[in-house]
Symmetry: C2
Subunit: 172 residues, 2 copies
DNA sequence: ATACGAACTGTTATAATATGACAAGTACCA
DNA sequence: TGGTACTTGTCATATTATAACAGTTCGTAT
């Protein structure tokens, strides 16, 4: 906790992520959420897993697996790819982290706790990523799936474009 | 053309792709579409590009770049990765082929000619892929983007689950 | 016809992303 | 305390992708 912490009721929505916000408190609460979830489910929130989640929360951007590996090595963990991939697999599997397929990279979930289908907005200029909510079963895809008899289990929804900041720059 | 060809008005929708259909005619017409498009735009529909598109149309499934490379080599083209990647880049760039990010693989467009935002249904059991239409700007993502001031240029929409066939099998 | 530039092809080499397999350590429970 | 499932770290390797450069082809303007 730093002197910048604030009560939980401040920017509780933050639907976007292109705005700045209080990292210290969102990190702490996300870690606490993960810890509680693991306790409830009988999962082992081991040091390397916790560290990986902390790194993603602290960076607040999408990291490649090898960037994660570097960070974990610096923190004193193993230095071979499976170390990073296994931690990330655990975190993704439990919904604490999402994989951005378009970037082959990983980002901490912005809505921990909520069961959700994430959607992402990826800026092609600065690589920033914001998380929103998708509504898979609704819309054209849901209809097509029902018509085809396809049983949707998971959706990847990623929009690529320009974030407000980069959009302003390119308008110049 | 084979004896199985049929008039263009038969299954004109084929919104799904989990159904079988007349490959010979859909291949021929897709190639013709691509040829016409390139002629109009002053693009060069070279032998290796044409062959790559033919291969994807014939296979009617998502192929990895190295599978494509093998097929191109067998057809007498170069045998190094850039050969495949460059042909695929051209085809994707012109909308004749889509990349399935979830699979790092490529599939021929099922709706050639139409300007569209594709959406895919990917069977996790048999890896079959069907293409549908997405409606990016509508729905929750479009709203979030407008609220955030994010300018969407392209969307990746991929649903993972079970196709009708595999779904029936797993119900047993 | 010919010279020119842009685009294309093929190659070598290497980068970036990801997984299989195994040995050693740890947690938990019977 | 012994067994079992899980976790970690490592080595080795597979898979996916791109940079750079030389030679060729294409279209066009002389």
């Amino acid at each position: 906790m730093t002197s910048t912490s604030r009560p939980d009721d401040a920017p509780s929505t933050d639907p976007v992520g292109f705005e700045s916000h209080d990292h210290a408190s969102c990190i702490a609460s996300a870690i606490a959420e993960a810890e509680a979830h693991c306790a409830r489910e009988g999962l082992r929130f081991t040091p390397v897993r916790r560290k990986a989640l902390e790194i993603l929360l602290r960076e607040h951007r999408a990291l490649g697996a090898y960037e994660m590996l570097d960070a974990l090595r610096e923190a004193g963990f193993g230095s071979q790819p499976p170390v990073a991939y296994r931690a990330l697999e655990f975190l993704v599997g439990n919904g604490f982290v999402h994989k951005i397929e378009r970037l082959n990279a990983f980002i901490a979930c912005a809505h921990p706790g909520a069961t959700h289908s994430p959607a992402f907005m990826i800026c092609r200029a600065c690589d920033s990523v914001a998380e929103a909510q998708a509504t898979p079963a609704r819309g054209a895809l849901g209809e097509a799936a029902r018509a085809a008899g396809f049983r949707i289990e998971r959706t990847v929804v990623e929009a690529e474009g320009l974030c407000p900041t980069c959009s302003d720059k390119s308008d110049t």
